[in-house]
């Protein structure tokens, strides 16, 4: 997608008002039934499905002119995908954009929750590829809908238990299923399971799957429990390393290959978090002090 190519007449935030109303109604029902997947009639967006059209449609339905909008892709603000979505809304909704988590009012994300705790008044919009947590166990939509209706989640536990039998632990490390407010099993989108504890937060979380035409939501301060077993409790897990740039020991790290000789370093996947720490004077093993110059 190229924001510059969008021209001619379009409505505020691109979508027409009737489409926004339909999405808005789905969002309200999603908040009223936390973790339940509300069907909605997904619209064509000027970008391919893999680009997070579900998240983009939610952002289009909730953005107000006064918002400050941030987009992250696996924690980074500067990937092609994140930059394109940011430019798109700068153009069609004339919103201010920011890379600072603390200053954003709406954050659209693919595959991460920001390290910094979100506060009241902030909304996190997730791009979701496959909203149905039971899809890999049961391909039929009719059947999975029935399973949710009957709260029949035994199959999911069997799958996790098979993981334990095979690998000695629950091997699922992304899109780790959760139970919301003791009722619906939900796919938190492909965030690392390291992020799962942060699904209980003060901000509003909205999830959009464009191709699969589903919207779901978690209100603030809602109970979100990662599925586990008494003898195999959920473990957050992270590499026993610190960020080589900012020295953070508690953040989710990406492994980056630095040269042809196989050199590598670990850096915060949340680029804003890392920047903020470095600006505050923290230096990692391979970092350069900000004020060294």
């Amino acid at each position: 997608m190229n924001a510059e190519q969008i021209s001619g007449e379009y409505n505020f935030a691109y979508l027409d008002e009737q489409t926004k109303r339909m999405i808005r109604r789905a969002l309200l029902k999603g908040l009223a039934i936390p973790g339940y997947q509300v069907p909605f009639a997904s619209r064509e967006m000027p970008m391919p499905y893999g680009w997070g059209t579900g998240g983009v449609q939610i952002s289009a339905a909730i953005l107000v002119p006064e918002d400050r909008f941030k987009v992250i892709d696996q924690g980074a603000d500067d990937t092609t995908n994140a930059v394109s979505i940011r430019r798109f809304f700068e153009k069609v909704a004339q919103v201010e954009t920011t890379e600072k988590t603390a200053e954003a009012t709406v954050i659209q994300t693919r595959h991460r929750i920001p390290e910094r705790d979100l506060h009241e008044g902030q909304v996190l919009v997730y791009q979701v590829p496959i909203p149905e947590p039971l899809r890999f166990l049961e391909p039929s939509e009719v059947e999975t809908r029935k399973m949710h209706a009957l709260e029949e989640y035994g199959l999911m536990h069997v799958k996790l238990y098979e993981d334990i039998a095979r690998h000695g632990e629950i091997a699922t490390s992304y899109a780790y299923p959760v139970k919301v407010e003791g009722r619906y099993v939900m796919d938190p989108s492909p965030i690392p399971k390291f992020d799962n504890p942060k699904l209980e937060m003060a901000g509003i979380q909205l999830f959009g799957a464009g191709r699969e035409q589903r919207i779901y939501a978690i209100p603030p301060h809602t109970q979100v429990v990662s599925l586990d077993f008494e003898d195999y409790p959920f473990q957050r897990m992270k590499a026993p390393k610190c960020c080589d740039l900012c020295g953070a020991g508690e953040s989710y790290l990406d492994e980056v290959i630095t040269d042809d000789a196989g050199g590598r370093m670990y850096v915060c996947s949340d680029t804003d978090f890392c920047r903020e720490r470095r600006e505050a004077g923290h230096v990692g093993a391979l970092g350069v002090a900000e004020d060294a110059a």
């Binding site: 926004k20 908040l31 009223a32 909730i62 407010e181 619906y184 003060a202 509003i204």
Partner: protein, 193 residues
Amino acid sequence: MAMASEALSGGFSDAPRQSARAFRAALEAMARPGEMQQLADLAAAPAPVSPAAATLLLVLCDPETPVHLAGDHDRTEVRDWITFHCGAPLVGPGEAAFALGSWQALGDLGAYGLGTAEYPDRSATLIVEGMGGAPVTLRGPGIRDSRAAELPETAAFQRNAALFPLGLDFYFCDGARLWALPRTTKVTEAEAV
């Protein structure tokens, strides 16, 4: 029959932006049960519709959402306004996606659609005119610990919450203010101080 000019006025002058702001307040309200939201961008419908209720209708209703008008709200001026601005069909309580009226007039909650086990989202949203009543304590999703509120009664909301994941969702409107009570909220009578 010619519509009164009242029916043709009271919409938004800049619908996309004003609707966006009003919806955001409605979203925050549903996400934080019991928390008062002040609307800045207001629609104006004929009496006895409050500005907050008129704004909700304008932002959420269209030909896909049948609306039920209860009691005093079921009058020609209001019907015409909804027909002109929303294009929503006017129906009885059983078919309504949205219902509007005073708590008294809305009547037996059993008359409204609760959704189905497979589609609990296909349930009615009730827009209640007026606030106040007995002090209650709210708990549940969207509420950190508990929140104080006032409701016209307690038992009806307790029965509604017991139906979860089925159930009705409510907005309470007064002037330019509104707050929401989704089916997830657990209501108890506030202990006497």
